[in-house]
Every structure is written in structure tokens, then in C-alpha cells.
């Protein structure tokens, strides 16, 4: 009784007491000694720490990933000792100091399959037996310098080993860990992720509502903050080897929470819509070390969000919001940047200079699907994404918008559910936030062009008694059922292709509808609310038609 009291946090009351008195399911039938399963006072091998088991001699498949700067070889040092049980190759009772293996109850010989049996495939386990020194910390950039590594995490001859995280004699924190996993305290001794202190994944006290998959199936914790790293990662037997994430399909690591069951926004519902960023269509294509400028087309949640960094801070255009904090991008000059300042820089990863970028939905007089070139402030006209627009006289703008405003890509490209931010999915084509009809002939209504009318006052567009309103816009879109998209190119016209004379006001004709006449196909800007058009549309010749 006395010894039980003394050893309340000791190996005696832990699963590592494999003797007949052990508390676990895996234990000997009659062997009473506890230490013997690992240690012997004489003739030990390996000698330190007076080891009493064979070297498994296994050849291990080791952890290997593009993001590890460390070079992990075959397990060595004390890790081999741990693996002499935990790789499942040697009988648990096979100790050097006994002529016959110690018998285990239930006929157990080697470690039964399960979370404790890592097998000889360590590619889905946190790497071990690698040198963790200052140069590793420096090259990684998000690791604590080992000289600043505080107890209880210890290195063994400069190497990270099983014993850096585990103390096999003491199960105070569960899993024989040297510190608690709560709030990922243990992980954070070494891993210092940029942005982590402010991210919701570190701070949120959100809980799971009990529907769908248990997002925290491998921890005892019940809030996002408590689970911290383990919201997505697991150090052993990971679903996706190289990232040590719960699931191989990247998006599944996010959607167990971002489906309304933990996080308030149901992003999973967005990805069920017909128009969406197709996160389900790619697996193991995304690589965290890929160029900021995407070379091979794909999209994952982590292409746009940095789960170590994203936070709830709000922003004004063009600045990136907290949801996009810490992600890479391509700036207005076309250069890769490690952290975006502006939202459009994120979109430019794929929709600008990327060699595999999506094409344009509309065939135009001036073809361009590089949106960086379309939004260039040097262009003859552009929607004001990078900077305020060039047209100082836009009478339709609804306050507080003005000619000096800027807008986000996501002001137009976003969910049709206005409670959900960002272009995850929409019932409208091109992941547009509102309806935007582009057919051959469309009966005008608020709903037909609601996307435009959210910013450009419908009444001004079709009813203003001048050459802006009734004489031009009403004539075309109300009387002739011509959609905005046939004359206007909503992103902009590149300065390398368009001109100040012909491509102001986002004019770039849809050539499937608008064709040349004998005078050509051309808009000529004649000043404020004045211009001429040379074109043929639905059999009607403008050669030219003027307004002024």
C-alpha cells in the first residue's frame, strides 16, 4: 500500500508496467518485475541505458517531406530501444535476461495492431533521430533555436528522439508525454509558427456540436484552442504522411470543423455548389513549398488560407483580411511575395501569370485572361481593384462608393450566401456573388444584373435623362435586351493591348455577338458621356452611331 502511494505518478501505475501487476490490458501472466521489460543491471545490450532487449534490426520507412529541412535517417539512439516494442517486430516479453520470453496474457506476443504499434513504416510519424541544431532552426525559420529549448523537451546528442516528447517512466500527462498536449503546449516548445499567437486555431473556444465526424477523434479536448495543432495534425499514424495531418485529402482536415459543426460558417456547403473552387478535385498536388506563382493547376483550402496564421481581423480594400493572413501571393509587378498585403495578390497566384490559369469565359475583341494585366492601374480602364479607377465621372455609383473607392475581387466573386465570405462557392457562374446574365438577349430587371446593380444604381443606369442613362444604357439593355457583358469587359483592358482612345469605360466587345462593320469594330471615346461605335450587332449596323 505504501508503495502504491509513493508511485502514484510512476511507471508502476502506468501502461508501461508490463508486469502481472500492471494496470493496462497488455501485461505478463506472472512476471512480477517491472523494470525487467526494458532494463537489466548486468550484461545489458545496448549498454545504455542498461537495456534488456534486442535491437529490432528493422529497416524503417522514414518520414520524408518537402517541408522538412532536417535529414532523418534510420532511427538511432534511444529511439531504437522504444521501437524494440513499438515497431511490432519483437515479442514484448523477449528480454535478454530471461532464457525464455516472458509470457503475456491473452496470448499476446508482439505489440498488437493499434496506435501503439507504429510498425516499421515511420513515414506517417513525426520524424526522429535527426540533428536539431541552430542551423536547422535557422533554415526552417519556424523552429525554436535548440539553445533556447526549455525543459522538459530534451535532445539526445543534439538529436530529436522519441524521448524528446515521451518520458516512458511517467504518464502524468498521458501518452507518456513530457508535457501536456493541451493547447499543444508540447508541440510549441519546438514549433514556433508565424502568426500562431493571433490565429483562431489557437484562440477559439468553439466546441463541436456533435454532428458529423468528430473533428477531435484523437484527443481528449473539446475546444479549438485546446486542440490547437491537433485540430489538423497528429504526430503518429497520420492520415497524410508528409504533413502529419488527420486526412490525406487536404480539404478534409478543414471541413470537419468548417462545416457549421464547430466554426459558424458552413464552408462545406459552399463547396457543394455547382460553381466553386474545386478543392475536392485535387489530392496531393498542392505542396507547401510550391512557387507562390502556381505552376500546376490545383486548389486547396491552404492555397488561400494559412491555418497557422489566419485570424479574425477585419480590413478595408485592397488589404487582405485576417482570414487570408500569412498566405503567399504575387504582387502587382508579377513578383512572388511570401505574405500578401492585398487580397488581389492572393488571387494572382492562379489567375494572373500562372501558366495553367483558367481561360476567359467571354471571347472578346481584346483577349486577356491574366487578371493582373487586366487590373493594372496603367490600363485605359479597369475595375478599381489595385487602385482607384481612372474615370472621375461615374454617376451610377451608390454611396459610400465613389470614384476614389477600391473594391475587392471578392466583392464580385463570393458566395451567393452573403453570410459567407469569400469565393468558396456560389450558385452563380464564375462564383459570382449575385446574378449576372450574359446570354444573347436578356430581359432587363434588377435581378438580371444584380451583381452590377449592387454598386451601380439601376435607376441612374437606365433612367438618367442624358447620354449616360436613357440615350445609351437604357437603349441597349432595356430596349434591345443586351447584357452589360456584351460591351463591357468587367476586369479591365490591359494597357499593352487597349488604348485611351478605344478602351475607356471597360469597353471590349464580346465578339461572339458584336461584329465588325465596314468601318471596323471600334469604340471611340469622345469625352464625357460622348462616343462613337463602329460595329454590327444582331444585324444592326453602327457605322458609326454616336452619342454626345
Amino acid at each position: 500500500m505504501l508503495s502504491m502511494a509513493i508511485y502514484s505518478q510512476s511507471i508502476v501505475n502506468s501502461k508501461h508496467n508490463l508486469s502481472v501487476s500492471g494496470p493496462g490490458d497488455i501485461k505478463a501472466t506472472s512476471e512480477s518485475e517491472i523494470c525487467i521489460f526494458c532494463h537489466t543491471p548486468h550484461q545489458s545490450s545496448p549498454r545504455k541505458p542498461l537495456w534488456n532487449r534486442q535491437d529490432p534490426g528493422s529497416v524503417y520507412e522514414i518520414y520524408n517531406t518537402s517541408t522538412t529541412d532536417a535529414s532523418a535517417g534510420q532511427p538511432d539512439g534511444s529511439s531504437v530501444l522504444c521501437l524494440s516494442c513499438h515497431d511490432g517486430t519483437i515479442a514484448l516479453g523477449d528480454v535478454l535476461s530471461r532464457a525464455q520470453p516472458i509470457e503475456f496474457s491473452g496470448g499476446i506476443s508482439v505489440m498488437p495492431p493499434g496506435t501503439s504499434n507504429l510498425t516499421t513504416n515511420l513515414s506517417d510519424d513525426h520524424p526522429i533521430s535527426f540533428i536539431y541544431n541552430s542551423s536547422l532552426a535557422a533554415s526552417d525559420g519556424e523552429l525554436v533555436d535548440p539553445s533556447a529549448l526549455s525543459a522538459p523537451v530534451k535532445l539526445e546528442n543534439q538529436k530529436m528522439q522519441c524521448t524528446s516528447c515521451h518520458e516512458p517512466h511517467d504518464d502524468t500527462f498521458g501518452m507518456f508525454l513530457v508535457a501536456t498536449r493541451s493547447n499543444s503546449e508540447l508541440c510549441l516548445f519546438c514549433h514556433q509558427k508565424n502568426g500562431w499567437s493571433l490565429t483562431q486555431h489557437n484562440l477559439s473556444n468553439a466546441t463541436w456540436n456533435g454532428s458529423g465526424n468528430d473533428p477531435w477523434f484523437h484527443t481528449p479536448y473539446t475546444t479549438v484552442a485546446e486542440n490547437a495543432c491537433e485540430n489538423c495534425h497528429t504526430p503518429h499514424n497520420a492520415g497524410q504522411d508528409s504533413r502529419l495531418t488527420n486526412y490525406q485529402a487536404e480539404e478534409n482536415n478543414c471541413l470537419d470543423c468548417h462545416n457549421g459543426n464547430v466554426a459558424a460558417s458552413d464552408v462545406q456547403a459552399e463547396f457543394a455548389k455547382i460553381y466553386r473552387h474545386r478543392v475536392y478535385s485535387y489530392t496531393l498536388v498542392h505542396d507547401p513549398v510550391e512557387d507562390a506563382l502556381v505552376q500546376t493547376r490545383h486548389v486547396e483550402c491552404v492555397d488561400c488560407h494559412n491555418p497557422h496564421y489566419s485570424n479574425s481581423s477585419s480590413s478595408f480594400s485592397p488589404q487582405a483580411s485576417g482570414a487570408l493572413a500569412g498566405v503567399r501571393g504575387v504582387n502587382s509587378a508579377g513578383n512572388s511575395i511570401s505574405i500578401v498585403q492585398n487580397e488581389y495578390e492572393l488571387c494572382y497566384r492562379c489567375h494572373a501569370d500562372s501558366p495553367d490559369k483558367p481561360g476567359s469565359p467571354t471571347t472578346r475583341q481584346i483577349a486577356q485572361n491574366n487578371v493582373r494585366l487586366e487590373f493594372d492601374p496603367a490600363n485605359p480602364s479597369f475595375h478599381p481593384v489595385e487602385s482607384a479607377g481612372r474615370n472621375s465621372n461615374v454617376p451610377s455609383l451608390i454611396s459610400p462608393l465613389s470614384e476614389s473607392s477600391t473594391i475587392y475581387c471578392s466583392d464580385c466573386h463570393a458566395s451567393d450566401n452573403t453570410n459567407i465570405s469569400g469565393p468558396h462557392g456560389s450558385v452563380y457562374p464564375h462564383i459570382l456573388k449575385f446574378n449576372y446574365e450574359t446570354g444573347t438577349r436578356v430581359s432587363e430587371s434588377f435581378q438580371s444584373y444584380r451583381l452590377c446593380y449592387e454598386c451601380h444604381d439601376r435607376n441612374a443606369i437606365i433612367n438618367r435623362n442624358d447620354d449616360f442613362g436613357q440615350n445609351v444604357h437604357r437603349k441597349h439593355i432595356v430596349e434591345e435586351d443586351i447584357p452589360c457583358n456584351q460591351c463591357h469587359d468587367p476586369h479591365g483592358i490591359s494597357s499593352s493591348q487597349g488604348t485611351e482612345a478605344n478602351n475607356t469605360h471597360l469597353i471590349n466587345f464580346n465578339t461572339q455577338i458584336v461584329q465588325s462593320t465596314s468601318g471596323g469594330l471600334e469604340f471611340v471615346d469622345d469625352g464625357i458621356f460622348a462616343g462613337r461605335c463602329y460595329l454590327r450587332c444582331h444585324g444592326k449596323n453602327h457605322n458609326p452611331e454616336s452619342y454626345n
Binding site: 510512476s10 511507471i11 508502476v12 508486469s19 518485475e33 525487467i36 548486468h42 542498461l50
Partner: protein, 206 residues
């Protein structure tokens, strides 16, 4: 009846100290009186003499066996806070048979013996695979290690503290775990039963 036995056993611990269960060397693994190489037929003489004893080893108890001159490789480990040097004091006497370099029958002045220990009892001169001996184990070591009990305040289970019952001059020696005279009657001449690793866990706070 059982209670009475227990009572007297516990009483015996206090009165007789090491002689826990009334066991002794007679008939133990260290009783060589019937071995062919011991022509004296005596027990104590293999190690001890009443006169003209060898005093070359510190505190040697009336020593009568040739003493090892081996150079030993002591135990070292990155996790060992104590420093083990060459075995000394009584451990050196144990090793005078158990390092395998001195014949067990080299006693009482004889140096031409031919019976050497083999197998498990022979720990060799390489002690790197053996629990360290001749190390100082004091409160400071316990504090530095973190996995050892304070020997000056922790009960050994044998009546006194670890320091009092198991250490010799604050040092861990072979005799800390083993009672060469078989006072306890436990297998391997252990000083205390290792059931449930009780002997190991007397010092090791694991």
C-alpha cells in the same frame, strides 16, 4: 499464526538488521565448502582470514583472496548524472572473482588457481553494460537527476534510509543490491526482494 510470523519478521528486521529471514551463507551460492577447488572444506576462508589479511584495498574486511588488478571500463551514459570511476572498496573485492580475471581458488595465498567464473556471474572488466558502482549517491545527485529518491530521507524498506541500509559511505557498491552472505535468502543474493521491481524502485523514482 501468520500475523505472528509477520510480527516476528518485522521485529527481526529491527533487531537483526540484514539477517531478515534468518538466512545465511550456509548452503547459499557463496558457500563453496563442498566445491572441489576448495580443499579446505571451509566457507569463510575463500574470502576472509583472521590474521595477516590483505589490507591493500580500503576497508577490506580481513581479506584473504587475491585482489583484481584489472583496469575496468566503467558505465557511462548521457543520462547519468553520477560519475563512475574505477570500482573501489568492497566492489573491487567482489570483482576479484566476478571480473573473470582471478581464479576463485586464488585465496589464502594461492595464485595458481584454475577455476574462473564463466557465464552470467562473470561480469568481465567491461562494466559498461552493468549498473554503475562506486558512485556517490547523495541528496545532490538525487536532485540533479530528478529520477532518484533522496537517499538520506527515503526509507529503504529495510528499516532505515537508503543511505543507512544500502549505501556504503554514500556510495553505491555491489553490496548495495547484493548481500554476499545471503542474509535475505533471496535469489541472486539480493539484499531485498525485486518482486514488482521493488529493489530497483527503492532508489529509482520512476
Amino acid at each position: 499464526m501468520l500475523k505472528k510470523v509477520l510480527y516476528f519478521s518485522i521485529l527481526a528486521v529491527f533487531i537483526l538488521g540484514v539477517n531478515l529471514f534468518g538466512q545465511n551463507i550456509v548452503g547459499s551460492a557463496h558457500d563453496f565448502s563442498s566445491d572441489s577447488w576448495n580443499t579446505t572444506g571451509q566457507i569463510c576462508i575463500v574470502c576472509h582470514t583472521t590474521h595477516n589479511a590483505d589490507v591493500s584495498v580500503n576497508d577490506a574486511p580481513l581479506w584473504n583472496h587475491e585482489t583484481t588488478a584489472s583496469s575496468f571500463t566503467p558505465y557511462t551514459s548521457s543520462t547519468l548524472d553520477a560519475t563512475a570511476g574505477q570500482p573501489d572498496a568492497s566492489s573491487k573485492l567482489c570483482l576479484s572473482c566476478h571480473d573473470g580475471t582471478i581464479a576463485v581458488d586464488n585465496f589464502n595465498g594461492k595464485t595458481s588457481g584454475t577455476h574462473f567464473l564463466t557465464g552470467n556471474p562473470n561480469v568481465g572488466t567491461d562494466l559498461n553494460d552493468d549498473h554503475p558502482v562506486s558512485i556517490t549517491y547523495d541528496a545532490a545527485l538525487a536532485s540533479a537527476d530528478g529520477g532518484l529518491y533522496n537517499p538520506t530521507t527515503t526509507n529503504s524498506g529495510l528499516g532505515g534510509t537508503i543511505s543507512e541500509d544500502l549505501l556504503i559511505g554514500n556510495q553505491v557498491q555491489c553490496a548495495s543490491c547484493h548481500d554476499v552472505h545471503n542474509g535475505s535468502g533471496i535469489d541472486k543474493l539480493l539484499r531485498k526482494s525485486n518482486n514488482a521491481s521493488a529493489l530497483c524502485l527503492t532508489c529509482h523514482d520512476k
